[in-house]
Amino acid sequence: MDKPTSTSTQGRLRLERYLRTFAGIVIGVFLLWRVYNVIVLQQNFGADTWVRFGLSGLILGGMYALIAIGYTLVYGIMFMINFAHGEVMMLGAFGGFFTFEALRFIPAPTLSNPEYNFLNAHPFISVLLAFLVGISISAMAGYFLEKIAYRPLRRAPRLILLITAIGASIFLQNLAMLLFGPQRKNVVNPDILDRGAGWIVNVSGNDVLISYTGIFSLVLSTLLMIGLYILVQRTKLGRAMRAVALDKNTASLMGVDVDNVISKTFIISGALAGAAGVMWGIHMGLVNHYTGFLPGIKAFTAAVMGGIGNIPGAMLGGMLLGVIEAIGPAALGIDFQLKDVIAFSILVLVLIVRPSGILGEKLSEEKL
């Protein structure tokens, strides 16, 4: 009885894998053909446009990557998708926004400019403060989210955790709307981070603006990713996090306080999302209670694309998704409003062609 079923299961699996590869090749060839048509044959856009798109993709990708790391860390340690993670990012964005608002109303007159406020008199301190506040709020949100909503369900089936996470997401969104109102708020940056300002670079005869806020975000997100990588690979806490992700019982036999490490994982995930939130406010200029929703699910897409549970995968996935989303509509010759559709089509594609993600191990098949 046992043998034939298992061989026919294997046969089905192999067939499925061929079908997947086949579908991947067909879709890949079609996309390449389409891109070739648009870029090489039609030549609607010059090199300057591609540079502009690519750059904004990298900037966006950096923020996606920071958020995606949070999904991947939490998945690695608890095997759950923390669907409230986007809202954690949104709270950070509000933290940055309110810090700027508060500092804008603190007068800091100078002799030459008696109207000066703190935000512009001390822009570096202001930006630093905004990040400190945003990161702290998101880190705390992550900490309490785990402690209040997820910890009591540690032994519950995973579906229940998932539903709880979705509930927490809705709760936080509505809480933010209640507290701060539904209208979108303009984030007023210090003058030196004016969103229209930047370096002008000449690409094939056209000027391309490389905005200060964009470069600032890209540099900061890169630094944070390097920092996180060092934390996970080189520090004692990082080792403990990896050990807990691999095997909780054995980790506790080493003397690791598993609950404590899980808390810290949520704090770190929250902090990175908070940083992304503040960047979002500074670079995009608008925040409201809905700010975390789309970046949240896109970062989730990025984490799945890179291989959920895999940290470099989340970074790569985030960057790739940002660039694909920015370049995609133009490269495929479709409407720019379809950029969100591209992101989610990618999720579906990845799930069909390589469910374990780009850098993920083939867990899903082994577990069948």
Binding site: K236, R239, A240, R242, A243, L246, D247, N249, T250, A251, S252, L253, M254, G255, V256, D257, V258
Partner: protein
């Protein structure tokens, strides 16, 4: 008394895995716990380590009750388990695995010295120090598991089937190492299905059957006991 286990009752849901187990271990002893697969040996060790909570009964280490103490605190007190199936952190290097063993220690110089002495005992591990744990052979993994346990400076070492799945030569080696560790002052609670070897090195032993202790005595006595020979030593 180093370890005292009294009337321990442990359940997995409705499964009554330990049905009133009592035994003890004096400082410096090797005590063996033998029994067939599913007898409850690992359950005993996991309860001592604090991973499982008893419904009834008590566990005392150095005259202090520990059955409600969290596992990480039990490790700090010097009770270290080398779990069944080695449980090496597969995606971590040999060095990182050893560092995990020293997790409760903070003195970097001391950790480095301890690692050096593990490498002296198991030179194979030194050669493979930067290899991922999951790529080691079974014997190497068992050495790493024991080395990782030693990194914590155990007062009491709990070994769960260290000979499982190893070739006879490796089994000999591992048991020599266990004796050597014991001679250097570490008390050992040894769980084994390989009763022959375990009884040969144990000062005293307990025989476990479906959650109950059915026999006890010195290692030598049990080795000569007809019913033990019948049930656990291949009946010659």
């Amino acid at each position: 008394m180093m370890l005292k286990v009294e009337s321990l009752q442990v359940f997995y849901g409705a499964i009554h895995a330990l049905q009133g187990i009592s035994f003890h271990l004096e400082k410096g002893e090797i005590v063996a716990l033998i029994g067939a697969n599913g007898a409850g040996k690992s359950t005993v060790l996991n309860t001592v380590s604090g991973i499982l909570r008893p419904r009834e009964g008590a566990v005392a280490f150095e005259d202090q009750e520990i059955h409600e103490v969290p596992p990480q605190e039990i490790v700090r007190r010097g009770v270290i388990q080398v779990p069944e199936g080695r449980k090496i952190f597969s995606r971590m290097t040999v060095t990182e695995n050893l560092e995990m063993g020293a997790y409760t220690h903070t003195d970097r110089a001391e950790i480095a010295r301890d690692m050096e002495s593990v490498f002296e005992r198991f030179s194979r591990l030194r050669e493979r120090r930067n290899q991922l744990g999951g790529t080691l052979s079974g014997g190497e993994q068992q050495m790493l598991a024991i080395g990782r346990g030693l990194m914590a400076h155990p007062t009491l070492l709990l070994l769960d089937e260290p000979s499982m799945g190893l070739s006879p030569i490796l089994v000999e080696q591992i048991f020599d190492i266990i004796q050597d560790i014991n001679e250097q002052g570490t008390s050992i609670l040894l769980v084994e299905q390989n009763a022959q070897m375990a009884l040969a090195i144990a000062d005293r032993a307990y025989v476990l059957e479906t959650g109950k202790i059915v026999m006890q005595g010195t290692g030598d006595d049990l080795l000569k006991d007809p019913s033990v020979i019948e049930a656990y030593l291949g009946g010659h």
